[in-house]
């Protein structure tokens, strides 16, 4: 007994030490860059945070679904991509808006509602036809199904958008303002103006409404919730709708602020968003937002700082964070340690 506990604490010690070293190195890297070129540092941070809020919208979808049925919804990122395609078609093709104008802004808000509805519907349909049947199956089955659904959605993306990237004109104003050398584009402000009310609204729904209460109860114990008279299927479908709506909003924001759509964007951003959700502690809503902003920040700093690995290593950096996190803190920053249920 003494032997095992000694070994255990030795492992713990090594883990703690290496974790501290890694964190120390990260801070050292940040400090060196801050001293070297403060304006570039803050510029990169602004870009990073504006990416981060976008990731937050997607990450919430992962975390909501994982929280309630313990499924990594692989297809969620692709749903975001589909949202971007829908937004591009809605604004530029159906309404023909390609320049900033009052009508353009009107169409933008109309599109926000439409794209949220569109993605929510698709997400609910996926849940209804693919995941619901597998709720009692071994874990491998729904996960593989989710990967399959992701591929099917990417196929739809290829049909809709073509096999390469497509650029679009935005209806949002293109200018920027400067605060002591740091350029802040108007689109960043608009991203915040759209995202923050959505996050507040979602927090309200989950914490204050009856539906939200039902969601939390189902997440805790689906059987008990059902015995208490909660319609579990409806609650799960509602969760998927909520996640889908947020992904749709993220798709619109991405398409309008970056002006690009591509069928594989969902895969890339989806993985980043998933990493964010894990970083914050999967299943934890404020954790997902925190994780997303941190990941966005790290990515922005890595891409934009004078001493950094540069954009071509962006994905590698994010996945390295994911792997290190899994080694040192699988529960994430705000997650609670989980005990396996037998």
């Amino acid at each position: 007994m003494g032997n095992t506990s000694a070994r255990f604490s030795a492992r713990l010690l090594i883990e703690r030490a290496s974790a501290s070293i890694i964190i120390g190195l990260v801070f050292f890297w940040l400090a060196v860059n801050l001293v070297k070129s403060p304006s570039q540092f803050f510029q990169a941070s602004v870009i990073g945070i504006s990416n981060g809020v976008l990731y937050a919208l997607i990450a919430l979808g992962y975390t909501l679904v994982y929280g309630i049925i313990e499924l990594i919804n692989f297809a969620h990122g692709d749903l975001f991509m589909l949202g971007g395609l829908f937004a591009a078609t809605f604004i530029s093709v159906w309404f023909g808006q390609e320049t900033p104008s009052t009508t353009g802004y009107g169409v933008f808000f109309l599109c926000l509602i439409a794209v949220m509805g569109f993605c929510a519907t698709i997400n609910v349909a996926i849940e209804r036809f693919a995941y619901r049947r597998l709720r009692r199956a071994p874990k491998l089955a729904p996960l593989i199904t989710a990967v399959g659904v992701s591929f099917i959605i990417q196929f739809i993306g290829i049909r809709w958008n073509g096999s390469g990237p497509r650029t679009w004109n935005s209806v949002l104003p293109a200018g920027e303002f400067v605060i002591s050398g740091v350029h802040i584009p108007y689109t960043t402000i608009i991203s915040f103006a759209v995202t923050i009310p959505l996050l507040v609204l979602m927090t309200f729904i989950v914490t204050k409404t009856r539906r939200g209460k039902a969601m939390r109860a189902t997440a805790q114990d689906a059987d008990a919730a059902r015995l208490m008279g909660i319609d579990v299927n409806k609650t799960i479908a509602f969760t998927f709708a909520l996640g889908g709506a947020l992904a749709g909003a993220a798709g619109l924001l991405f398409q309008q602020t970056r002006g690009v759509t591509n069928y594989n964007l969902g895969y890339q951003l989806g993985l980043i968003a998933f990493t964010s959700a894990v970083l914050g502690g999967i299943g934890n809503l404020s954790g997902a937002v925190l994780g997303a902003i941190l990941i966005g920040l790290v990515q922005g700093l890595n891409d934009g700082l004078p001493i950094g690995l540069g954009q071509q290593w962006s994905q590698t950096v994010v996945f390295t964070i994911l792997i290190l996190l899994m080694v040192f803190r699988p529960t994430g920053l705000l997650g609670k340690p989980m005990v396996e249920k037998v």
Binding site: I144, V147, R226, V327, P330
Partner: protein, 397 residues
């Protein structure tokens, strides 16, 4: 569903029962006959056939497709050990394929032109670079991959199954990206970046040089490698380690309570799976005569998974059928079919672009309606449908 409990008791006692499902001598005989028949057909008969028939084979089943399918079989058998036997979902198997491929690129070409090492290679002695014999590279590649399998597995084995899938996916993204950006890592050219390494050396077999177009002889090599993987898969499955894997797949907690060393067994599964990924990678590099970083995409991991799932997780023969059919559809079937349809109907549909739909569809359809695959493994079938009998556990913990 016939009396699994009795079967289980016997398994632990007598070796006969273990080998019963796959009579050793029988499968080796059958496999050899089939393999040699195909070889004789492509090496000798196909040239004698009338033009129309030869043309048909050239269009629908050329020898290069056969060889490529065998590489897929080798890799799918490796993934089957991880997913089918041990029940660990690996979404980054392409990493091993890439590492194996780059082993061939490093040790069988003039890429490292700073040095001049020749050991048992067919390359001319004055050619710079590291030139080892194909067989040595095969072995080295497989061992390096197995080591990477352990490296990837070790930190992640504490995780729950779905996290594990994501971490392997992360490795499957990182490693190709390292090769893709590897032109200048601290001033060192690791992988020649997006240009890739080409050509690789010819294979030396009985003093013959097998270049990229000696498909018949390379077929013999590839089919023997596939046979080796089948042999390894079947032998390990019947042994102590294989039974430990199956136990982990079926109930991890119960297995650990019964004294199955979880860490060791899982690491072994990763190592053996990666081993075959390395063999497949080296073989593929000689097949396409080079390694190219942009080929190692996530889609490869998913296609491999689709092969395993379609054929039947855990059943070697099912996986082989799945791998052969999907790789045929992917490389020849879909384009050839599209060509035929387009020329017959005068349409212009890009059929190969439907492969995303096809593989995604296969995964979803199989999981919804036939979870155990086309050629199911009897034991797995029971587990996959076990939960269907109860209605209580709706959350799926």
């Amino acid at each position: 569903m016939k009396k699994p409990s009795i079967k289980f008791k016997k398994t632990s006692k007598s070796k006969k029962e273990v080998t019963k499902g796959f009579d050793q001598s029988k499968w080796i005989r059958g496999f050899t006959i089939a393999a040699v028949a195909i070889w004789i057909f492509y090496a000798f008969i196909v040239d004698l056939l009338p033009y129309v028939v030869a043309d048909f084979f050239q269009k629908w089943l050329p020898a290069t497709t056969v060889n490529e399918s065998l590489v897929w079989v080798i890799c799918a058998l490796g993934l089957n050990i991880v997913v089918g036997y041990a029940g660990l979902l690996d979404l980054g198997f392409v990493a091993f394929w890439a590492i194996g491929g780059y082993c061939a690129g490093w040790f069988m070409s003039d890429f490292f032109h700073q040095v001049n090492i020749h050991i048992g290679s067919m390359a001319p002695a004055e050619q710079p670079g590291i030139h080892l014999s194909f067989w040595a590279v095969l072995f080295i590649g497989a061992l390096i991959c197995a080591a990477f399998g352990v490296i990837i597995g070790a930190p992640t084995l504490r995780l729950k199954s779905d996290y594990l899938a994501l971490v392997t996916l992360g490795f499957g993204e990182i490693i190709p990206q390292i090769f893709f950006n590897g032109e200048n890592i601290g001033g060192f050219n690791l992988s020649n970046g997006s240009k890739g390494i080409s050509p690789v050396d010819n294979i030396g077999l009985f003093g013959k040089k097998l270049g990229p177009f000696d498909l018949d002889w390379k077929y013999l090599i590839f089919v023997s490698l596939a046979a080796l993987m089948v042999f390894i898969s079947l032998r390990i499955r019947g042994g102590r380690l294989g039974r430990a894997w199956l136990a982990i797949r079926e109930d991890e907690l119960a297995a650990s309570m019964m004294g199955v060393p979880l860490m060791k067994s899982k690491l072994a599964a990763y190592a053996v799976g990666a081993f075959s990924g390395g063999i497949g990678g080296v073989a593929f590099a000689t097949h396409v005569n080079g390694v190219f970083a942009d080929r190692f995409s996530f889609a490869i991991s998913i296609i491999l998974l689709a092969m395993v799932v379609l054929g039947g997780m855990g059943n070697v023969w099912g996986v082989i059928v799945g791998a052969l059919s999907i790789s045929w559809v992917n490389s020849t079937g879909l384009p050839a079919f599209g060509e035929t349809v387009n020329s017959a109907l005068g349409t212009n549909i890009n059929f190969p672009s439907y492969n995303f739909l096809l593989f995604g569809g296969i995964l979803v359809f199989m999981m919804l309606y036939k979870r155990e695959g086309l050629l199911p493994e009897s034991r797995l079938k029971q587990i996959l449908h076990e939960a269907d009998d109860t209605t209580s556990n709706i959350g799926g913990h």
